[in-house]
């Protein structure tokens, strides 16, 4: 090994990057692209969050005061689309880009040029979606689920832009997923067998398969909406022989696996953080792998639990009810494994662990309300109320988003080489934790009492709860600015320098490279024992 010569060689060629914007436009480096994804996701999180602030401001008091109902509907629609496709999914893709090659000892993603494309078409998609809000008649207002006939017969002409932007988002996700699968299959370091792969890599592999299975179905659904609206087909139009309920079947065939796309990588992240800060091996590694795979498989046979009130026959309702409840078994396996990992561990409460603990408790609350919704007879009362809103925000905000925050705190020192600001982190965590519960917990109560979702006004008896929900919403939104400040500080290299291992209980290949991770890593594959 002529390491000196090698090093010189590297300096000459590999750390050379074009200056300024061209570096980012042309980059094929997995770390650069991961960073781009993460920043994009954070910007979209703030944009979608600003829309949530509009929603909460309107709902602060009963009656219509701030925005027109049509604009309110556009806010709920685009808030949902941006948070799902613009914030949570790109954030996970960014984490995969950064961490999967580091964790499996690969020098880069398998298809770096496609990686560049899959990121750079994404801002275009969201510019199109956001631009449609400024058209005459406004942007999409039919809810992120774009049920026909709302999106076909009753929508305005911005629907064409909506369809186009969803197509681009889908293509981007599919390319990202293909890249992850090929990387994991072909580029693992020698000795890293399937059952030695880190949990984050496992969960992302399964997520990527879900993505390539269902994103094309979503593309088909929006294409049918497009041709129904503009080209005279009747997929969802009963007058022409179609069926509007068919739309819901196709949409939720995509939609239910989609919600697991947004949570499986979170399970992977938590499965890294809990062992690190408990200073123990992950309890039940192989059961974690099998549980993840079972959740993914079950996700394909539960879609109609979103449709209990469409007049399904009894046997179908029973089937989807029990299949849905079955999912709580592998999910329970995961939660118990995390708890068992902590059992008798020497736990320390650094910020990633705080978010992971909040995740475990609050995600479980979201899981329980999901079980309640799965019970067909009571779902008739909960359907389309704020109880549903409370449920999916517990699993997506205190679930997926908290896991992303935990991941950022966990890996930020590896990315930037500096520890984050501890004071800001404490403020961010506690403000977020308190405000997010103030925001979403009372939604259970107003939902059970019958407050419908997606309506800009409500009955007077819900006024007090909604005031508190809005206050919680504003506080949660502002708390994220602390997080922004913290990330900017670390990325400007202000703070305590981090060691290569960063956390003394951390294990895995990503902790064997220096902090900050060099531009090129693992050009010679490491040996995994």
């Amino acid at each position: 090994m002529s390491s000196v010569a090698d090093d010189l060689h590297h300096d000459e060629h590999h750390d050379h990057k074009p200056a300024g914007i061209m570096r980012w436009l042309l980059t094929t480096n997995h770390k650069d692209i991961g960073t781009l994804y993460l920043w994009f996701a954070f910007i979209m999180f703030l944009v979608g969050g600003a829309m949530a602030m509009v929603i909460r401001a309107e709902l602060f008091q009963p009656g219509l005061q701030i925005v027109e109902p049509n604009f309110f509907n556009q806010m709920t629609t685009v808030h949902g689309l941006i948070m799902v496709f613009g914030a949570v999914m790109p954030a996970f893709t960014g984490l995969a880009n950064w961490m999967v090659p580091l964790m499996i000892g690969a020098p880069d993603m398998a298809l770096p040029r496609m990686n560049n494309w899959s990121f750079w078409i994404l801002p275009g998609a969201f510019l199109i979606l956001l631009a449609s809000l400024f058209l005459e008649g406004g942007g999409p207002n039919f809810g992120w689920t774009f049920y026909a006939p709302l999106s076909t017969t009753y929508s305005n002409d911005s629907t064409a832009l909506f369809v186009f932007s969803v197509h681009i988002m889908g293509i981007s996700s599919i390319m990202g997923a293909i890249n992850v699968i090929v990387t994991i299959f072909n580029m693992r370091a020698p000795g890293m067998t399937w059952m030695k792969m880190p949990m984050f890599v496992w969960t992302w592999l399964i997520t990527a398969f879900l993505l390539i299975a269902v994103m094309p179905v979503l593309a088909g659904a929006v294409t049918m909406v497009l041709t129904d609206k503009y080209f005279g087909t009747s997929f969802f139009d009963a007058a022409g022989g179609g069926d509007p309920v068919l739309f819901q079947h196709i949409f939720w065939f995509f939609g239910h696996p989609e919600v697991y796309i947004m949570i499986l990588p979170a399970f992977g992240i938590i499965s890294h953080i809990v062992p690190t800060f408990s200073r123990k091996k992950l309890f039940g590694y192989s059961s974690m792998v099998y549980a993840t795979a079972s959740i993914a498989l079950l996700s394909f046979i539960v879609w109609a639990h979103h449709m209990f009130t469409t007049g399904m026959p009894l046997f179908a309702e029973m089937f989807f009810m029990f299949a849905t409840m079955l999912i709580s078994v592998p999910t329970g396996v995961k939660v118990f494994n995390w708890v068992a990992t902590m059992w008798r561990g020497s736990i320390s409460y650094e910020m990633p662990m705080m978010f992971a603990l909040a995740f475990i408790v609050l995600f479980t609350i979201g899981g329980f309300s999901g079980l309640m919704l799965a019970i067909t007879p009571v779902d008739f009362q909960y359907h389309d109320t704020y109880f549903v809103v409370a449920h999916f925000h517990y699993v997506l905000v205190t679930g997926a988003v908290f896991s992303i925050m935990a991941a950022v705190y966990y890996w930020l020192p590896k990315w930037c080489g500096k520890m984050y600001d501890q004071t800001l982190a404490q403020w961010h965590f506690w403000c977020s934790l308190i405000s997010v519960n103030l925001l979403f917990f009372p939604m259970h109560f107003v939902g059970l009492a019958g407050m419908p979702r997606r309506i800009p006004d409500y009955a007077l008896q819900f006024a007090d709860f909604n005031k508190w929900i809005s206050i919680g919403g504003f506080a949660f939104g502002l708390s994220q600015l602390i997080f922004l400040a913290l990330i900017i500080k670390a990325s400007r290299k202000i703070g305590e320098p981090a060691t290569a291992q960063v956390w003394d209980g951390a294990e895995g290949l990503e902790w064997e490279v220096p902090s900050p991770a060099p531009y090129h890593t693992f050009e010679t594959p490491p040996e995994v024992k």
Binding site: I181, F185, A238, G240
Partner: protein, 185 residues
């Protein structure tokens, strides 16, 4: 590295094939859904073709089924549309005729299409229509009115637990896309 990139390419081709297959599957769900619902009759769609009534059909006088009729218009469809008979008691196997009234109160010719739906959905398989205005698009000149007949019988195989079912018609304005000639009125 070439071996690596070859194996990458093979993998990408397989994965793209899955993507294309799943895109096709999304569209295949449309006919699959129709076939599935036809066989099981679970979404309340009745047969779009006329049934033939065998005059030797045994009428099961021991059972009496209540059939209710409701009508509604898709928003934007200006016709007056109502069932002349709102509910009727029939024995399974017995042939009955009911009439629906339509009037076009506007100053323009309109073609309508009625879409039937049965609730509970499982009854749809046992409702046999020998004649129905819903089998065809219905043109109606400006200001004209008409009585549209619907002749049906309930299959004696109707499950015992169904004693009442509702047939609903939703009327759609299909003037823009219709190929039917405007001749009634």
């Amino acid at each position: 590295m070439t071996e690596q990139s070859q194996s990458n390419n093979r993998m990408v081709i397989k994965l793209v094939a899955i993507v294309i297959g799943m895109f096709g599957f999304g569209f295949a769900l449309v006919p699959l859904y129709d076939v599935f619902c036809d066989i099981t009759g679970i979404n309340g769609k009745t047969n779009p073709y006329a049934a033939t009534y065998d005059v030797n059909t045994d009428v099961d006088t021991s059972r009496e089924i209540t059939v209710e009729f409701i009508t509604r218009n898709q928003s934007g469809m200006p016709w007056d549309f109502e069932a002349r008979t709102h509910r009727i008691k029939v024995h399974p196997g017995e042939l009955k005729t009911v009439e629906f009234y339509v009037r076009n109160p506007t100053g323009r010719d309109i073609i309508g299409q009625a879409i039937p739906s049965v609730s509970p959905g499982t009854a749809a398989l046992y409702l046999n229509k020998t004649e129905c205005f819903c089998f065809e698009q219905q043109p109606l000149k400006a200001g004209a009115e008409a009585l549209m007949p619907m002749q049906f019988y309930v299959d004696p195989q109707l499950p015992e637990d169904i004693k009442v079912f509702t047939l609903s018609y939703t009327l759609y304005d299909v003037t823009g896309t219709s190929t039917v000639a405007m001749n009634r009125g």
